[in-house]
Symmetry: C2
């Protein structure tokens, strides 16, 4: 089991590292900067904060750790592009929401066992998993880490 | 050894997947789009192509696979920001250079053994590696994959 651990510990370390970069970047940006678009006509910084929080919260269910604490974010920040759905979240609320989503998820994933990280996530049936054994929980975390890096590259443009 | 394999195969699959996304994005962009800046005053698409190629080529030495085929890219696309160093690379040349850098690296990393992926890369001394065992070759590939995702998020703004 020692070497399966290596995949899991490496992946969690990279997840933590990218989140650290996100929070440290967000802390250097003021309210105006986070309201700006990353490029003219593109997503705003605050939309991307809501988007990342919604994606994090969805992992709770994917990992069978509990309910999504804020499912109402999905319609605003995942299913719709920026400014399509009216909402009253402020920049500061979204900063807090993304921080909470990371802390909540991290506390809960600490409970996932090694065997469970390598088991299917909740969107894959046992039958599908036989033929697609890479659709496990650790691969979800890895692809969410890449997704975070992708949006970090965009958020860095707000500086 | 089977489960160390899991870290290595997973990491290489993610590397390949991000590169596929890069090449497919680049193929949808025309010359003008690739000359544009990702956001006003920021890096151009063609600078980022040169940057990614230079980073790929540097992995040849880090992995002790051979010489960097185009070390002259470093001064233009790594050590200097966009438009600081004059050069005569065209958009089409840079598209070809990034494609070559990926193909060349991928052909060569196929020769790396499982044990060697988990061994130190060439910038780490044996002494340092005792205390920092995560500074191995596979972690270089993983962090380069995250670096690629970061810039993919930016290049996607050229669409």
């Amino acid at each position: 089991m020692m070497s399966q651990n290596l995949l899991i510990t490496t992946s969690i370390r990279n997840w933590d590292e990218q989140n650290k970069r996100l929070l440290s970047l967000v802390n250097t940006l003021n309210e105006d900067q986070l309201q700006n678009q990353i490029s003219p006509g593109r997503n705003s910084g605050m939309y991307l904060l809501g988007h990342l929080a919604a994606i994090n919260n969805n992992m709770m269910a994917l990992f069978e750790l509990g309910e999504n604490p804020l499912p109402e974010l999905d319609d605003i920040f995942i299913k719709a592009p920026d400014k399509k759905v009216e909402h009253s979240y402020t920049v500061n609320a979204l900063k807090e929401i993304v921080l909470q989503s990371i802390q909540n998820l991290n506390e809960n994933i600490a409970r996932i066992s090694e065997a469970d990280w390598l088991d299917r996530h909740s969107n894959v049936s046992p039958e599908e998993f036989i033929h697609q054994p890479h659709r496990n929980k650790i691969n979800v975390l890895i692809s969410r880490t890449l997704h975070l890096a992708y949006h970090l590259g965009q958020l860095s443009l707000l500086k």
